[in-house]
């Protein structure tokens, strides 16, 4: 009997919560809309940052590392190093060996007419080198990590990968991320505040019912549970609406933006991963739950 009751309890509270939502649709809509809006803004912001990241990476083009050997190193050492570099950089990277002669030929070609001055050289002053071209998908952090690995190889006397540029890009993105997190926290706090105040109004509207529950021997949890479920349902609805909004925005807005940024052609539009969608929906439910817990808690303590 007792266990039977407990098993049926969740259903009972769910029914009560849904009935309450249906009875006071306006307040539910306000809470839902608040959560939907803040999650929508948050998701769009997150997508913009990841889009910006992708854009900046695409802008930078394929990353390109040059490994220099000592000028005295034989061409054979460069070939061995190239094999090693190819192994480290992975199958998608293209690796090219530039021998002493090839390096000199390049220099002559670059110098054009002036290049004839080099004919008098008795000995080739240039280092052989290995060029590693990474796929577009490689991000700044990966490039840097790889460069560090190359630098640890004894034959390599220097690694050139546009370090300053990559470092600046990385720190810019990091700053953007922190700004986003900070803003996110502010928006989150504001949302919880607004939602709990809205739900407080519904709690207040049902104060007679709550009073009677308590006078008839209902526990605080009995009073609280339907409100918590209502809050979670409102938040879940808000999360789903936000996801719908994000999908709509992607379809309507982003193609135009991508057209405007012609240099980003071929870049993938940022999209929410399934796990992120789940996070938005679950985050909505959590926001609603928290807002409602705060509102009822405040009321029960008074």
């Amino acid at each position: 009997m007792a266990t039977n009751r407990q098993l049926l309890r969740p259903l009972y509270f769910l029914q009560r919560a849904i009935a309450n939502l249906v009875h006071a649709p306006l307040m539910s809509l306000v809470a839902t809309a608040t959560i939907a809006l803040s999650l929508f803004v948050g998701a769009i912001f997150a997508l913009s940052i990841s889009g910006g990241e992708a854009l900046l990476n695409a802008w930078g083009g394929a990353a390109h590392l040059t490994l220099y050997l000592s000028p005295a190193a034989p061409d054979e050492a460069a070939r061995i190093l190239a094999q090693r570099a190819a192994f480290l950089a992975g199958p998608q990277a293209t690796v090219q060996t530039v021998t002493h002669d090839a390096a000199l030929a390049r220099l002559k070609h670059d110098l054009g007419d002036l290049g004839r001055a080099l004919d008098g050289l008795e000995e080739n002053p240039l280092s052989p080198l290995v060029e590693v071209r990474l796929p577009r998908s490689a991000n700044a952090a990966e490039v840097r990590a790889l460069a560090d690995q190359f630098a640890r190889i004894p034959e390599v006397i220097d690694v050139d990968y546009g370090r300053a540029w990559l470092d600046r890009l990385t720190s810019l993105l990091l700053a953007l991320r922190w700004t986003a997190i900070l803003l996110g926290v502010v928006v989150l706090a504001a949302t919880i505040f607004l939602v709990s105040n809205t739900i407080q109004l519904t709690v207040f509207a049902r104060r007679e019912e709550i009073e009677i529950m308590k006078l008839c021997g209902g526990t605080d949890w009995f009073v609280r549970t339907p409100f918590l479920i209502e809050g979670a349902l409102q938040g879940l609805a808000g999360g789903l609406i936000a996801l719908g909004g994000v999908a709509l925005a992607r379809h309507l807005l982003l193609p135009k933006m991508a057209d405007a940024l012609a240099f980003a052609a071929g870049m993938d539009l940022p999209r929410l991963l399934p796990s992120q969608m789940l996070a938005v929906a679950g985050g909505g439910a959590a926001l609603g739950l928290l807002g409602s817990a705060l509102a009822v808690g405040r009321f029960l303590r008074a």
Binding site: N4, R5, L8, R9, Y12, H23, E208, E209, E211, I212, M213, K214, L215, C216, G217, G218, T219, D220, F222
Partner: protein, 219 residues
């Protein structure tokens, strides 16, 4: 069953509405609580079901010291106490039946059995034909009977009734009191607050009289 030791209840700045009151109500006793308006009858009942805390003194209900009861234990105390409120406290957005069944749902009874017992109880107060109406469409006397049905539906060990016959004619008054007497005969301890001294002559029972929060007679 109910014991008060030197209980005083005062609200800020006012003179106490219960002043140094000591009172014992035994198990299965039936007591009228009388006194003029403002004597402190409602306040005394509210102290007993822990809706108010005494300013000083001790109150023991069903063996539990109310002053020491934690907030989370109060609901469990109240499950043994059926209260008929002077202002009924019925919910107008629920049917009469749901109002009565609600008292059972709140303490964990399933909806089906709760409604069954509520309907049975409405039959006992003669209102089964109004089960689906909202309380506000009922007359004052009918609402009073719904309030009594809700207080008794749980078969509580203690019943506190605040002016339960205030809105009833003589024959309904007798019917309602009979419900309380029946409940008393089955072992419940009953306290009925009323300013209607006529009840005492028609239904002689122990009567505790209050005036300005003090007991003026008992017997």
């Amino acid at each position: 069953m109910i014991k008060l030791f030197h209980v005083t209840k005062s609200y800020l700045g006012d003179r106490p509405c219960i002043a140094d009151l000591s009172l014992t109500v035994d198990k299965s006793e039936f007591v009228f609580l009388t006194g003029p308006s403002g004597a402190g009858k409602t306040t005394l009942l509210r102290l007993i079901f822990a809706a108010e805390r005494p300013t000083s003194g001790q109150i023991i209900v069903g063996g539990r010291n109310i002053a020491r009861l934690s907030a989370s234990a109060i609901p469990y105390l109240r499950r043994n106490i059926g209260v008929v409120f002077q202002d009924f406290k019925l919910l107008n957005n629920r049917s009469v039946l749901d109002n009565v069944a609600f008292a059972l749902e709140v303490i964990g009874e399933r909806v089906g059995p709760a409604r069954r017992r509520a309907r049975e109880m409405l039959g006992r107060v003669g209102l089964e034909h109004k089960a689906e109406s909202p309380p506000q469409r009922l007359s004052g006397g009918e609402q009073q009977r719904v309030a009594i049905a809700r207080a008794l539906v749980n078969s509580p060990a203690i019943v506190l009734a605040d002016e339960p016959t205030g809105n009833l004619d003589a024959s309904l008054t007798a019917d309602i009191l009979q419900l309380l007497f029946d409940s008393n005969a089955r072992g419940a301890t009953i306290v009925v607050a009323t300013h209607d001294r006529g009840l005492l002559t028609r239904f002689p029972r122990r009567a505790v009289q209050l005036a300005h929060g003090k007991m003026t007679s008992d017997g």
